[in-house]
């Protein structure tokens, strides 16, 4: 059963049509990479799935439920983790508190449980030594790994990544991609907007190529990268690789 089904989704901002009928689906445990030029609506698509934006037409079904009909949006969002390009760690608290806050507030976990779970995930992303550090003292790659741990603490059914490495120095990209790769090995369901083509080819079960608000091509990474059918896909990949 598909964990996310996107059907004919349209979305505009003040007359500008960003999504013009998007269809794709994600199975449980699948890693889907969303690629395409800037302004093609990839990030908007992610934000719609997290209900940070609402859609004008079409349907998004997550875990068998039409998300436009969800009453308890906060409970839904806690199941759909999101990792942002700009990390967005809470600047007023240290790494550990960043990871425990929503656990305590949303999942009503005890301080002790929340800390234990946070430390497990910080260990997984290699940031356990920085539990007491404040975000302003961390490098970009470290911040992003904490942001991933923070999302994992909510036990999400799926993780959405919005260009997780685009704001990083080149040498820090690897440490973040390694964490994502590790999650892929653990069969975490993930939807990743990325410009890291080598990573997408390596880690994705499916690649979706978007341009101008529509899906032009989707398929296995090998097919998309080595035998693209669509002319626009071919152009895009030729320019980027």
């Amino acid at each position: 059963m598909a964990i996310i089904e996107v059907k004919g989704v349209r979305k505009g901002f003040d007359g500008l049509h960003v999504l013009k009928g998007i269809d794709f689906s994600i199975e449980k445990g699948e890693v889907v990479c969303l690629i395409g030029p800037s302004g093609s609506g990839k990030s908007t698509m992610l934000r719609c799935i997290n209900l940070l934006e609402d859609i004008d037409a079409g349907k998004i079904v997550v875990l068998g439920q039409d998300i436009s009909e969800i009453r308890d949006i906060n409970a839904y969002r806690s199941k759909v983790g999101m990792v942002f390009q700009q990390f967005n760690l809470f600047n007023n608290m240290n790494v550990l508190d960043n990871c425990t806050l929503a656990q305590k507030r949303v999942l009503k976990r005890s301080e002790e449980d929340a800390k234990k779970i946070a430390m497990e995930h910080l260990l997984k992303v290699g940031m356990v030594d920085f539990a007491n550090a404040y975000p302003s003292t961390l490098s970009g790659g470290q911040k992003q790994r904490v942001a991933i741990a923070r999302a994992l603490c909510m036990d999400p059914e799926i993780l959405l990544f919005d260009e997780p490495t685009s704001a990083l120095d080149p040498e820090m990209v690897g440490e973040v991609l390694n964490v994502i790769r590790q999650l892929a090995d653990e069969d975490m369901t993930m939807l990743i907007v990325t410009h890291e083509m080598a990573f997408a080819r390596d880690v994705a079960d499916k690649v979706v190529f978007m341009d101008g608000g529509i899906v032009l091509e989707e398929g296995r990474p090998d097919d998309i990268f080595n035998h693209p059918k669509n002319e626009r896909t071919r152009q895009f990949l030729a320019r980027i690789i």
Binding site: G81, R105, V106, L138, G174, L177
Partner: protein, 252 residues
């Protein structure tokens, strides 16, 4: 004006001056603190943007509340505190209850400061990166939880210099509250000057006392601000437990 006369007045009337200082500080500190709480509440409400998913009834309610807040801020910033003090004091005194002057003074300075604080807090909130809000909401936190745990602490830190400034303004501007004859520094000075007929010397002493109070406050406020900005030091270092993967283009 003779300086020796100044010292003479200070020496003779220091108990009166001290009482004035005490009252001034009480009114200024409590007024700033309550004003700050009003500002947090009002500024916080002002900064809330209804969700796209909010019901239309709550959107309309928010708009009405916003109008009332705007009127409050405009009225109290747009009229002199001296006028507010006499008007509110007598309004309540003659129509509702014969209230204590000190209580009236603190009441007036609090709501007056609240109007300024509301704007200070609102701009402090707007200076917080919108990504902070999105991150908290994406984790499932409600808008109220997000405001209390994530946005306001950062907004207060952003706005701290302006908040401290309000305290200094209040130490000086509480002098206008003499109009309802509370025993603050200006009121005391007037009576001392009236007794001694040494107006220049008395008010020189008064000015010096005000200057001492405000300078001391700035020193303390600066120290607090420094502490707020002092983030815990733990220098970033590369984590060697993760090997960088190659993302060379030749891979493709």
């Amino acid at each position: 004006m003779s300086l020796s006369k100044c010292f003479e007045i200070l020496g003779k009337y220091y108990p009166s001056f001290l009482l004035g200082v005490r009252t001034t500080l009480i009114v200024a500190f409590i007024g700033t603190f309550i004003g700050f709480l009003i500002g947090l509440f009002v500024g916080g409400i002002r900064a809330i943007r209804p969700d796209k998913t909010a019901r239309s009834s709550s959107v309309i309610f928010k708009k009405i509340v916003d109008i009332f807040i705007k009127i409050y801020v405009e009225v109290f910033r747009g009229t002199p505190m001296m006028v507010q003090a006499v008007f509110i004091y007598y309004l309540v005194y003659t129509n509702i209850v014969r209230w204590d002057k000190m209580f009236a003074a603190i009441f007036v300075i609090s709501i007056n400061t609240g109007a300024y604080m509301a704007e200070i807090i609102r701009s402090g909130i707007q200076a917080v990166d919108p990504g902070q809000n999105e991150a908290a909401r994406s984790l499932g936190m409600s808008s109220m939880q997000t405001m209390m745990d994530v946005i306001l602490p950062q907004a207060i830190k952003n706005a701290f210099p302006a908040i401290g400034n309000e305290l200094i303004v209040n130490i000086k501007d509480s002098s206008v509250l003499m109009i309802i004859s509370i025993t603050e520094l200006m009121f005391q000075s007037n009576s001392i000057a009236g007794t001694t007929y040494r107006f220049t010397e008395t008010y020189f002493v008064t000015a010096m006392i005000y200057l001492c109070l405000t300078s001391l406050s700035s020193v303390v406020l600066n120290a607090i601000e420094k502490r707020l900005n002092n983030t815990k030091t733990s220098l970033p270092q590369s984590d060697t437990s993760f090997k960088s993967i190659s993302i060379a283009k030749e891979d493709l």
